[in-house]
Structures are given as structure tokens and as C-alpha cells.
Symmetry: D2
Subunit: 160 residues, 4 copies
């Protein structure tokens, strides 16, 4: 955690969500920027919400994507995504993105994600991310990250 975060009062530190029941839960509020002239959240913006959630899931696990980017270790990129839109979200809605790791390969991770408003399912997706070198080639993920991911997918106690 950065020095800046350490000095922020709790209400001013951005949330990273929480792990509960083997899944990561992450809150999102809908702002004007997220909506379109149809009066609902623009479909591509669900992918932004889900990426925020995946990034903060890694953050809670102690993985720094910024660090990996800066030192040239590599970067995660989405290689496949399948998403069904079930119901629309609107301005000011409070959503939760629920993310569950479903598979860990040498260079890839599979994640099932849902976007819900209360008990209403708005969107659900299967996402595969691949770890890439700075040159854009698939690259083996750090061994300790794989161990972390495996512990989560196998249902071991979550880190929080």
C-alpha cells in the first residue's frame, strides 16, 4: 500500500472491495459518464466496472499491477470475454461486482463475474486474462501469484 493511502482517513481511501465466501465483492456507483442516451449504462462500461473489480481483487491479494508494469515483469490482458446483459443499470444505481476465479493456467486465469444491483443480476461474464511480456507475448505468471490464485479457486480460506 502506498504512502499516500496510509495517510488518508478511512472514508477517503478508495475501497478495494472485500473477499467473502470465496468471491471478491466490489462496489460501483453509476455516474453520468457511465450512461448513454438510452438512459441506461452503456454496454461497454460494464467491462470497465469488471476490470476495476479484477484489479482490486489482485490488489487485495497483494499483487501490484503497477509494479509489474514498471519493472517490465508483464501485464494482464483480456484474451476472451463472454458477457450476457440481463437487465439495465441506471444513473445513481449502486452495483456490486462479484468475481470468482474459476481456473488458473500457466499464463492465464479464468474469472466468472457478475454485476448485481441488490439481488437483481444485471450482467454475467466469463473472462480469461493472459499474462503478457512487455513485447506482448504470453508469459508464465509469477509462481507465487499462481499459488495465491490456486488457493482461492480451491476454496481455501480467503485472505480477508
Amino acid at each position: 500500500m502506498s504512502a499516500a493511502a496510509a495517510t488518508l482517513p478511512p472514508a477517503l481511501a478508495p475501497t478495494s472491495g472485500v473477499f467473502a465466501q470465496g468471491a471478491h465483492h466490489f462496489p460501483v456507483r453509476v455516474y453520468f459518464e457511465d450512461t448513454d442516451a438510452g438512459g441506461v449504462v452503456y454496454h461497454a462500461n460494464y467491462l470497465r466496472f469488471m476490470e476495476r473489480a479484477r484489479s482490486d481483487m489482485l490488489r487485495l491479494l497483494g499483487i501490484s499491477q503497477r509494479g509489474a508494469l514498471d519493472d517490465g515483469a508483464g501485464v494482464y490482458a483480456v484474451s476472451h470475454l463472454d458477457i450476457a446483459f440481463r437487465a439495465p443499470a441506471k444513473l445513481d444505481d449502486e452495483l456490486v461486482v462479484i468475481s470468482r476465479m474459476t481456473g488458473v493456467g500457466g499464463a492465464t486465469v479464468s474469472i466468472a463475474q457478475q454485476v448485481k444491483r441488490g439481488q437483481t443480476l444485471l450482467a454475467e461474464a466469463s473472462v480469461t486474462v493472459a499474462f503478457l511480456s512487455a513485447q506482448g507475448r504470453p508469459r508464465r505468471q509469477p509462481r507465487e501469484w499462481v499459488a495465491l490464485f490456486t488457493s482461492i479457486t480451491s476454496g481455501e480460506p480467503s485472505p480477508q
Copy 2:
């Protein structure tokens, strides 16, 4: 075509792409807004490119989404999307989005879309859009639109 378009010199009218060989072809250039700190186009932005292409495919067919929105006829919303990311796009790249209608139902249309840079396939997607009422309920598409879509999917001469 709108009155505004009619008065613009050709170089200043935004392109709507062209139909060729049963598919709609639409050019996109990559700007800073489309990229992320990984140095490549952010994955969700391919969905923006593909939506621009679908909108202009409808426009070339003579369908006004703005008109349908304004008069309360309805609006198309993505109900399902499956996308594979094959290779990254970078700043200044000139891309083409190729869209092909693959199925027409009462309230839905299926479209296969590819994003290419020259001969290189960067992303390919299957997209289903549903026609919705102003209240967000699935609604039968205008009969004349279905006829247009069917003529395209059946390989009849394209409108251009």
C-alpha cells in the same frame, strides 16, 4: 442523410463505411483516448469501435436510431457478446471493423464482427442485439427493418 451532411465537403462528412461482399466495412483510427498504460488499445474500447460500426451499418441501410429514440419506437441494446482478442492495436493504427449480419429474429439481430489491421485479425466477436421499448422490454422490430436485415443475411445484392 441529414441536411448538415449535405452541406459538408466530402472530406468533412464523417464516413459511414461501405458495404462490400455482403459485409459492412468501417474504418477506425486509434487515438490516445483508446489506449491504456499497457501501450495498447484498452479491451473495452473494441466494443465502442464495434458499436460505431453497427450504428453506421444501420445508417447506411436507412435506419435512424436517433429517430427511433426520439419518437419512442425503441432502441437496440446488446444482450449478448462473445469476443476473442487475438492481437493488440496501438496508437495511430488504422483499423477496419467488418460486420456481417448472421441471424434475424423477431426482436433480435445477430452480428459477427471482426476488427482488423490490414490482414491481421485483432479481435472477433459474436454480438446479439435486442430491440427494446422505451420501458426496456423486448419489442418486435419494425417489419421493414427485418426485411432489410433478411435481404442482407441472405446474400442479396448489398445496398451500395
Copy 3:
């Protein structure tokens, strides 16, 4: 506050920031979506951060923009914005947007906003928003809102 919010555990309710020392403080974390190929936050995205902060400042004051939109009362639109970019923000940075109302007119509000990372000023802006009718015409703000705004700008005790 919506029913959904009432049922979320605190860690899962999106923050609306806090009022302190006559200003609204709102946390933002930088995700991949916010950055560009230059490796820093894309300049237009500061406007998104600042709009989120303004929206949540209104929310904390008890004003529902969604309500005003749905019942046709009106909507706030930015009419003028002056922004100086002092230093870049990067992926994973934890920022705070500080917003201070500086003037209240019949149909407009002026707000001074800063984006900071710790003690470092990244951007500062003067923003004027105008209240518009559903037809897009300037419209007198609700009297009770003006009273709220005036109490804040005059340095009276903040609502939290």
C-alpha cells in the same frame, strides 16, 4: 439513500466522500481505463473524476440528480470549465478530489475543484454548472437547493 444502499455492508457501499473544512473530499483510484499510452491519466478523464465528485457532493447534501432527471425537474450541465494540469497521475494512484462551492446564482453554481495525490496538486479547475430544463433551457434551481448551496459557500457548518 436508496433501499439497496441500506442493505449493503459498509465495505460494499460506494463512498460518497465527506465534507470537511467547508469542502467536499472524494477518493478516486486510477485504473487501466483511466490511463493512456503515455503512461499517465488521459487529460479528459480528470473531468470524469471531478464530475463524480460533484455528483456525490450533491448526493451528500440530499439532492437526487436521478430524481430530478426522472421527474423532469431538470439536469445540471457544465457551461464553463477552466483546468490547469500540474502533474501527472499514474496507474493505481489514490487521488482525492476536493470541491468547494464558490458562487451560487439563479440557475448556476460555481465550484473550485482540485485533484491531489497526497499533498501533490495534480490539477485544479474552476467549473460552472447550469441547471437546464428537459428542453435544454437554463432554469431556476429549486429554492431549497440554493439555500443548501448558499449555506455551504458562506462557511456555515457543513452537513457532516
Copy 4:
């Protein structure tokens, strides 16, 4: 111009706009992604339109931002922006961004930009961009670029 561009039929090459009467003119169409629940273009998206126009103005002058980024020469970043929003744009609108260089310094360029729909002025802005090194420090612009900019601001014949 890239090899890809050379092989595209004219209708499939993205436009870079044109120089006319000492200013750069660039067309933009409004898509769903650009609008918000207020039914108009989201204010921050005008900055995206204006950045596309500035990028293509440089492109027409023969300046490659991608090249400068890749070889570490530097990158332009907005340092100051003042924008007035005069009238809203809506879905499907065809806009033109008119850009005029108004000043050239050692490390900065000033540009006046307007966004119009036909004869209607929607937004006008004064923008200052600074040339930055890969480390984010202001850096002298390449001498030949300054010469190009100066020739434009002084009203000499435009390059097209």
C-alpha cells in the same frame, strides 16, 4: 502514411480532416458512447473530440506522435484548457472540430478550437499543450516542428 493506409480504398481510410483558411477542420459523428442519460454529449467527451482533431492536425503536418512516443523523443500533454459549452450535441449529430494554432513557444503550443454543427457553435476552447520527455519534464520541441507550427500561425499557405 502507413502501409495499411496505402492499401485501403478511400472510403475505408479514416479521415484526418483538412486544412482550409488557416485552420484544421475535422469531422466527428456522435455515437451512443458519447452521450449520457441527459440525452446529450457528455461534457468530457468534447475533449476527446478535440484531441482527435489535434492529433490529426499534427498527422497532416507530417508529425508522428506514435513515432515520438516509440523512440522516446517525447509526448504532448495538455497543460491548460479553458472551454465554454454553448449548445448541446445529440446522438447521430455530425460535428466539425475547427483547430487553429495561436501561439508557439519553446516547449508549448496554443490552439483555439471550436466544435460546430453546421453553423451552430457548440463549444469553444483555448488549449495549451506542452511537449514532455519520457520522464514527464517539459522539453524543447523538435526545431522542424516549431517551424511548421510557426508557418501555420503566421498565415502562410497551409500544407493542403
